[in-house]
Symmetry: C2
Subunit: 397 residues, 2 copies
């Protein structure tokens, strides 16, 4: 497809080098990795290699601590439910934050129905969890803390090292959802005191349908999906060999290119933020200015939040893809973003954000075109909306 | 890879036409189907089309009754656990058979730990469930019956229409795991009275990492993996768009070619069975002769069951891939096959089977080569084993 794709937090184009790495595993090395013959053994070797690549990137002590899943959602479900059910005799209290992805929050909601208790930590106006809040929330029956590494809507980078330190001192397993940060920010399970880490491929120019969960030896997790005992008994299912190979390649590329790529994207991100705040009427930034993913911009426009969808569609007509919130939340209809509500936005503001997220194939020229088109769209849309609603929609409505 | 691949029940090579159909969805139509912009909408259209193809092939009333998962194991887990947890106020009794795949049996074992009761139906010496046994096992608190369509080890085709009829009369939801039969045998959710059907792609020359679950409207299933509410709220996770497109294409090809392809494979299957029984010393067939998948052969050799692994490796040296049991069971070490035990084989026999499974790319020439190499391997191995164990290992050992 042609167009300017600025929705890389929703999904990314697969890097052609990743597709090339995957290709032989469809038609040539197509064996089931559990098979004993050479077709099987070669598939097994390929996934072992991807496992070693990913494990070493996050500082895992052993490759076997990294298990492959179908994606971030499954990894998060497995981390929370697999640990909660395994440890429920020890305690039934979990801690997470109010800005997590739906797959965390809907998993904890389900666990609450099963008799678990969950504390949802508040965040500061930038979207950041306060370590002192976590320290105060841990109870003797707390069996798991889960706080994301970087937020999917506002790009806030949580202080996971400090949070992990607190968990380590209190001997509570610490899980982080690193779907948005993996490949962009360094992750080190030792330094960050992580027991469980969720990773996925399709946010880092790898294929959809594959993710991973780091499970520290002795973390106390049990399988959530049962069957033939694949992935060291923690996740049964015939391994998605091409997907896993693609994930490994995507991670490898991201790691190699990160030192050069992240400063480039950071400059593009700041160009958008600076231009928007300086020249677009009423523009404000959701999320932190500093402790932020180099790829994330989240803008609101005072008094014009009701036009976010119109803005998105207008940009889409011009071939520019942005989002109003997280892609996944589109299934919940016109609900305000729980992330924006958590940082203190009102429901109108929390429906009216424009999320712009950058990726490997985003160019400076595309950013300039986007800024020009956004300015035009804002100017063009105003008269139409004014005709329909003579008073600008109040932020408090 | 070169070689003769006769392990298509473990996994199949992806059809090049399927790879071709998937290709654009990695690098061009890469959007997240939940996104509102055109990148997202085009991805959404592609999965809707695959959904319609698959739904219509099994006679589903509406495409929305077909939801995509990461594979057969997930579909089976979702069917059993999702239904059991949703219906547990109604009852806590499930019925399945002793010859199901591990992902059924380990899911029901887990449900037993959660307070459910499970009846495991016996099978006849061919591996077939007796409908009268099912009728006798249904209780007022039975909430689900799950019996596979075709067995993964011995190819037995279960009488799902009669079983479904009984479930319909007793108003108990009926689930079938059709992973091995889909694309080979017709499935009709109306005629067969099916409430839930598990399908997967990689057994039918589609990609690994994608499956589906048919969920009849009103079946009473709840989500098991929580998140953004994808797949009509029943299975959250960013959809594996290329995988789903590939699954749709694989199903389409299988459906078109089935009338010509299945008789061809049936002839090859019978050629192997007839030749083995006629000319290989001590050969016997596990599973039914008639009510059997056209792609499955499962052989034992009286008194030589202890050599199954040696046989497999010898054939592997000659570039021929077969299995000793199901691929997935390799994680359980040297356990005898629960399927073969259920049809009355003793533990030695149940460890000593050779499974030979055919696929689209299996040729007559390959079958002849296999038969010749198998005969040779049996002849060559005998002296070696005789040296080590002068008495042939008794079948009763």
């Amino acid at each position: 497809m042609t167009g300017i794709y600025l929705d890389n937090a929703a999904s990314t184009p697969v890097d052609p080098r990743v597709v090339e790495a995957m290709r032989p595993f469809f038609t040539e090395t197509f064996g089931n990795p559990s098979s004993l013959h050479r077709f099987g053994r070669q598939a097994r070797e390929a996934i072992d290699q991807a496992r070693a690549t990913l494990a070493s990137q996050i500082g895992a002590a052993r490759p076997e601590e990294l298990i492959f899943t179908s994606g971030g959602t499954e990894s998060n479900n497995l981390a929370l439910k697999g640990l909660a059910f395994a440890q429920r005799k020890k305690g039934r209290h979990l801690i997470t934050s109010k800005v997590e992805h739906d797959c965390i929050l809907n998993s904890t909601a389900w666990l609450e129905e099963q008799g678990f208790t969950v504390t949802y930590l508040d965040v500061d106006p930038d979207g950041l969890v306060r370590p002192a809040d976590l320290a105060a929330a841990i109870r003797p029956d707390t069996i798991l803390v889960s706080v994301m590494h970087a937020n999917h809507e506002i790009g806030a980078v949580e202080p996971i090292r400090e949070l992990g330190q607190i968990c380590a001192e209190r001997r509570v397993p610490f899980h982080t959802d690193a779907c948005q940060s993996f490949g962009k920010l360094p992750i080190d399970v030792e330094r960050d005191h992580l027991s469980l880490v969720t990773l996925n491929a399709h946010k880092v120019h790898g294929p959809k349908g594959v993710g991973a969960l780091y499970v520290r030896s002795g973390a106390g997790l049990e399988a959530w999906q049962h069957g033939g005992g694949h992935e060291f008994g923690l996740r049964s299912s015939t391994e998605n060999v091409p997907g896993i190979v693609g994930f490994g390649k995507a991670a490898e590329i991201a790691e190699i290119e990160r030192p050069r790529e992240m400063p480039r994207l950071l400059r593009l991100r700041d160009r958008i933020i600076d231009q928007a705040l300086a020249s677009l009427p009423g523009a404000y930034l959701n999320g932190p200015r500093r402790q932020r993913l180099p790829t994330n911009v989240n803008l609101g426009f005072h008094g014009r939040e009701g036009e976010a969808i119109s803005l998105l569609l207008r940009l889409d007509e011009r071939g520019i893809a942005v989002a109003t919130g997280s892609a996944c939340s589109s299934h919940q209809g016109d609900q305000p973003s729980h992330v924006l509500l958590a940082i203190g936005r009102d429901p109108v503001e929390a429906r009216g954000a424009l999320r712009v997220t950058l990726g490997r194939f985003t160019t400076e020229e595309e950013v300039e075109t986007f800024l020009r088109e956004l300015r035009e769209a804002l100017a063009t849309l105003r008269p139409i909306n004014s005709l329909m609603a003579p008073e600008p929609i109040s932020a408090g409505a």
